[in-house]
């Protein structure tokens, strides 16, 4: 395994480097470049509202222009072939109304008065519900809150903002879910951010955005939920930035249940100040092509980071989780458990990096990726990657790939349970370890039913 701590999963941007000219490119490379130019056009076509957001957007444009559309020759995209996207002709979203009834299946009773809804990345106040929230809590769309002097300090400021798809999102930045929890406030009600994609005749390109700032000693439970109405094709490129200040606590559930024909390339960037505690429960069951790039930067001592992940895919789905925890200070704890359930000809990718540099002595880090293959054609590419330079640390990592254990199926059969039901029960039991960490009972129930129904 490679052991270089400098290889953070970030493309460096060199402003002096000029992109290759079209003439010198192969036809395939030219197609990629044209597609990226098209995405940039679509992103720029949205109208920003204020000057500081416009400046942020303007700074992101050359970042995109300087980069090439990724291929499987790029190490970070080796197993994740994006070329099918190049054949999807995208349009920007033209508003269409979504009824309250249409989103009813996604409403969480625990968060019935703390919900923001975005339809194809555009704020939908008529579907949102905000009432009786504690004083000082900021929850709303960027366009309503952009006068708040604190926001420019955080928005677009996470490390890695220069990465291609993150910068692309910033180029089109207009609406954004904003949540700011003031100092010492413990928010009892979970906050639900619902990102709805609708599908129509033409595939659309959407770029949801989210900013969460948890001020010192505050605490919040956050549900980010990516859902679809309809089963069509679209490309969504969401970016979420989460800031935990000193001693803050964020319990974040990220649920991806997009259309089976969707492309979803998502980014979650998290920065943690000292003594803060961040948990991410990332559950991904939808999209034909899914990539989640989850990066956590614990920047102070004694932080805790818990990343729990569950991927459940079938058919021809491709689902890729790239995570990185870049530790930098002593006495920090990082725990990651990522599980994949892969059926049919589906393909899962897991690449989990944990960086423990010299400055991160007394780190306690553990990482495990467990995969359950339900079909002989199912595929997993896994690379748990621990890069340790510090010499006084406790670190473990590993990956396991298995099929359903014949002894386990037999045990259940010997109690009168038929083989198909036994399989459902065992798949559920495999998923349970992650599902059980989701803090909302209604969501746990929904997902448990999904996992059971999905197994065949």
């Amino acid at each position: 395994m490679s052991m270089s701590v400098s290889s953070l999963p970030i493309r460096s941007y060199d402003p002096d480097e000029t992109p290759a000219t079209a003439a010198s490119l192969s036809a395939a490379a030219q197609k990629r470049q044209e597609y990226l130019a098209r995405l940039l056009d679509l992103a720029q076509s949205s109208q920003p509202v204020t000057r500081w957001v416009q400046e942020l957007r303007d700074r992101a444009v050359p970042l995109v222009q300087a980069q090439a559309f990724p291929t499987t020759r790029d190490e970070e995209w080796r197993f994740t072939d994006l070329s099918a996207l190049l054949d999807v002709p995208l349009e920007v979203f033209r508003p269409n109304r979504v009824s309250t009834a249409a989103i009813a299946p996604f409403v969480l009773p625990e968060a019935s008065r703390s919900r923001l809804v975005f339809v194809n990345g555009v704020y939908a106040p008529e579907l949102s519900a905000i009432a009786n929230l504690p004083d000082g809590l900021l929850l709303g769309d960027l366009s309503d809150l952009e006068g708040d002097a604190r926001l420019p300090h955080y928005l677009g400021k996470q490390p890695g903002s220069e990465e291609l798809f993150t910068a692309l999102n910033t180029v089109g930045l207009r609406d954004a879910a904003v949540l700011l929890i003031p100092r010492n406030l413990v928010v009892e009600t979970p906050i639900h951010l619902l990102f709805v994609s609708t599908t129509g005749e033409t595939p659309i390109f959407t770029q949801p955005r989210c900013l969460v700032v948890a001020e010192p000693s505050s605490a919040v439970t956050l549900i980010e939920d990516f859902v679809t109405i309809g089963a069509g094709t679209y490309f969504t490129n969401p970016v979420s930035e989460i800031w935990l200040e000193e001693n803050a606590q964020v319990n974040h559930t990220r649920l991806q249940r997009d259309s089976q024909n969707a492309y979803h390339i998502g980014k979650t960037a998290v920065s943690q100040a000292r003594d803060s505690r961040y948990t991410c429960n990332a559950v991904s069951v939808g999209a034909g092509f899914f990539r989640h790039h989850l990066t956590v930067y614990p920047n102070g001592e004694q932080t805790e980071t818990h990343l729990n992940g569950l991927t459940m895919i079938a058919g021809e789905q491709v689902s890729d989780t790239h995570s990185a925890i870049a530790l930098s200070r002593p006495h920090c704890t990082a725990r990651q458990l990522h599980k994949c359930i892969i059926d049919d000809r589906a393909h899962a990718i897991f690449n989990g990096k944990v960086f423990v540099p010299k400055t991160a002595q007394l780190t306690d880090a553990g990482q495990l990726n467990r995969n359950l293959l339900l079909s002989p054609k199912a595929r997993i590419d896994t690379k748990p990657q621990l890069e340790i330079v510090a010499d006084n640390v406790k670190c473990t990592h590993g990956a396991a790939v298995s099929q359903l254990d014949a002894n386990e199926v037999f045990y259940l059969q010997s109690r009168g349970i038929d083989a198909a039901s036994a399989q459902k029960l065992l798949v559920y039991a495999f998923a349970y370890e992650i599902l059980n960490k989701i803090p909302l009972a209604s969501l746990r129930q929904t997902l448990s039913e999904f996992v059971t129904a999905q197994t065949h």
């Binding site: 010997s414 109690r415 009168g416 349970i417 083989a419 065992l426 349970y432 370890e433």
Partner: protein
Amino acid sequence: MIIENSPVILSVKDLTANVDGSQILKGMNLEIRAGEIHAIMGPNGSGKSTFSKVLAGHPDYEVTGGEVIYQGKNLLELEPEERSREGVFLAFQYPLEIPGVSNLDFLRVAYNSKRKHQGLEELDAFDFDELVRDRLDVVKMDPAFLNRSVNEGFSGGEKKRNEILQMALLEPTLAILDETDSGLDIDALKIVANGVNQLANETNAILVITHYQRLLDYIVPDFVHVMANGKIIRSGGKDLALELEARGYDWVLEAAATGVA
């Protein structure tokens, strides 16, 4: 108990079976009648556990010859779950852990699959709860165990008690206990044995597979069989177990080799 002319529950004739291509059972013969308790003892590798798994229908074990008639039916033609619903029960040497599935839900699914097979109405959660709480007493189990995941974090003794609780609910006609006593301290062993004794009656039969004579002080067998090299080489009453405990297996093996009974 031995009952004159009681019906035959299990009849095994010249049974042979392979695991991974090598022959483990080499001509098993055994007849068990209603009301009887049989014990099979024997050295490691004699094929005891293989025999129990073949009876329960484990897919890794390939039957190559002979027959197994259970209550007049060809047992070998049935799927494992059908054998269970017909009243064959195997208490596992190493019970499986199923995180995320509550013991109560697991027991109810198992119980109802048998009810359904019998053409009876399935019990709802409320009625089943009442039934299971009643049966907990058989193995002196704390009701708190019902809400925990199946066998997860259970001690060895608790897992074996949980197996007997399943037996108490499923009320098998033929119960096979595969080394249920292994690894149990004396208190747990007494609880397990006492549970089995409460469940034994004149209409069912119990087959106990064990390494240790100690168990047979608590579950008193009507017949003791010694297995070696894939078949039964000697059968007797409960005194045979005591003799084996005192003298070991070598004399039985030698007697079998020289043809002296």
